[in-house]
């Protein structure tokens, strides 16, 4: 076993990979920012005492957490045009699927975070006449959010990995370009090694940040 690696040829095509990388990052940014916000509202519904919103949110969360994201992406790819008559691009379908999927997970983080706030904080806000929305914006979210950041960061890491699945519905992100490159160059070993490293370099800082944030929170709590 003395295979000579030919990384040079892959690196010569780095513009292809770079183009894919841009789309990967775009996919991530759209899905993540959307999910952070949307997750709040689903999480509120999930934690609410109102039967109907609670039921809908619970169903939403359970459906997205108990099916493979690949199936979700494919489903949206076919379902959107069939059900709405609107033919989204593969990118739009993937962004939407990843966004909806991550929203479900973010909802659980929001719910747990908001529920961890001491009851006295809600009461104190109510006692000076705040509306529920003001309470959320001024009292609950600013306090709970910092405790939720590690969990959100972990979610971001999961999402970043998930973006690669968009390649299966022909979104030309990093993984897609890698597949193309590996067949063009006949160098799959080198291509997928390099791409794995690119993903790692991109994602690992997020994990490290989550570790650090968690440690800081724990030491603050102690």
């Amino acid at each position: 076993m003395n295979y000579t690696f030919q990384f040079g040829e892959i690196l010569a095509n780095s513009d292809l990979l770079l183009r894919g990388l841009k789309l990967t990052i775009l996919l991530f940014a759209i899905a993540f920012s959307g999910a952070l916000v949307c997750g709040l509202f689903i999480g509120l519904a999930r934690g609410s005492a109102l039967r109907v919103p609670n039921l809908i949110a619970t169903a939403y969360i359970e459906i997205f957490r108990n099916t493979p994201v690949l199936v979700q992406l494919i489903w949206f790819y076919y379902a959107l045009p069939a059900l709405s008559g609107w033919q989204p691009s593969a990118f739009t379908a993937a962004a939407l699927g990843l966004f909806l999927n991550t929203s479900a997970y973010c909802a659980e983080i929001w719910r747990a975070g908001l529920q961890s706030l001491p009851a006295g904080q809600w009461e104190a806000g109510r006692a000076i006449g705040m509306s529920e929305w003001q309470l959320l914006r001024r009292v609950a979210v600013p306090q709970a959010f910092s405790r939720m950041v590690p969990a959100f960061t972990n979610r971001g890491v999961e999402l970043a990995k998930m973006t690669s699945i968009a390649s299966t519905i022909t979104v030309q992100e990093l993984m897609y370009e890698a597949k193309m490159l590996s067949t063009q160059t006949f160098l799959p070993l080198e291509t997928f090694t390099i791409v794995a490293v690119i993903y790692f370099v991109l994602i690992y800082p997020g994990t490290l940040a989550a570790y650090a944030l968690e440690r800081r929170l724990n030491s603050k709590g102690a």
Binding site: Q121, I128, M130
Partner: protein
């Protein structure tokens, strides 16, 4: 039963600022308040006594609708809050509740300051967010109230850095900044170390000199004696005895009141 209309109760001349009529509150099958009638005139200071679980907190919390009464009526200046819904419970719109709470301030046993805001921001929060006051004016108001509770120098600190007594004084300033007509205190000194109780009670006594209407739940009988114009003794969800501090604290008529007070043999007036 007790004759609550006896002459010992201060006559109510002006229409009461607060009227509680036939107030009932149940949690599930546990009936905590079993019919409370209470009229509070402007400037009255009412100390509420009673053993743990007698419903003191629940009474205060029903007055500002932190708990929804199961039956009965709560009226401010003669206007009822909410409307009677199904099964006697009162339902009120959230807007009406918010207005009510700007008129009735509450101070908690656990202070409940907002930890992510400085002392000054805590006091400004109500005026700015709820009343829509501009920040400059709110800042001046907040500084005023902080001065009143003797904490001008702590304005830029975060609550965690303050002692319990200081935190409770900030909480009082936060409630005052809303300029409420009535103040509710739920055991404001019960979670304080003994040496910090005095500074909080001094602030509350100071407020009583301004003629504010206040309802205060406390176990500090000596303080209640000096503070109150009227003392209520609550027992199992009913007003068991009421009267002037002298009547209730020095010469209680009811056996239960006497038994309750004997447990505090060590208090001095």
């Amino acid at each position: 039963m007790v004759d609550v209309t006896s002459a010992s109760v201060p006559p109510v001349l002006a229409p009461p600022v607060l009227a509680v009529e036939g107030l009932h509150k149940s949690f599930g099958s546990n009936e905590v308040l079993k019919g409370i009638d209470l009229k509070v005139a402007a400037g009255e200071r009412i100390a509420i006594l009673g053993s743990s679980g007698s419903g003191k907190s629940t009474l205060l919390r029903c007055i500002n609708f932190m708990e929804t009464p199961s039956a009965g009526r709560i009226a401010l200046d003669g206007t009822s809050i909410g409307v009677e819904g199904r099964g006697g419970a009162i339902t009120a719109r959230s807007g009406e509740l918010r207005r009510l709470r700007t008129r009735v301030g509450m101070i908690f046993q656990q202070f409940n300051l907002f930890p992510h805001m400085t002392v000054l921001e805590n006091v400004m929060e109500g005026p700015v967010t709820v009343k829509g006051m501009n920040r400059k004016e709110a800042r001046a108001t907040a500084q005023d109230y902080l001065k009143r509770v003797g904490l001008s120098d702590k304005a830029e600190q975060y609550p965690q850095r303050l002692s319990g007594g200081q935190q409770q004084r900030v909480a009082i300033a936060r409630a005052l900044a809303m300029e409420p007509e009535i103040l509710l205190f739920d055991e404001p000194t019960s979670s304080l170390d003994p040496e910090l109780v005095g500074e909080v009670l001094d602030v509350i006594l100071g407020l009583s000199k301004e003629g504010r209407t206040m309802l205060l739940v406390t176990h500090e009988l000596g303080f209640a004696y000096h503070f109150a114009t009227r003392v209520l003794f609550l027992h199992e969800g009913r007003i068991h005895e009421q009267g002037t501090p002298d009547e209730v604290l020095k010469n209680p008529r009811e056996e239960r009141t006497q038994a309750f007070l004997r447990r505090f043999s060590a208090f001095h007036f």
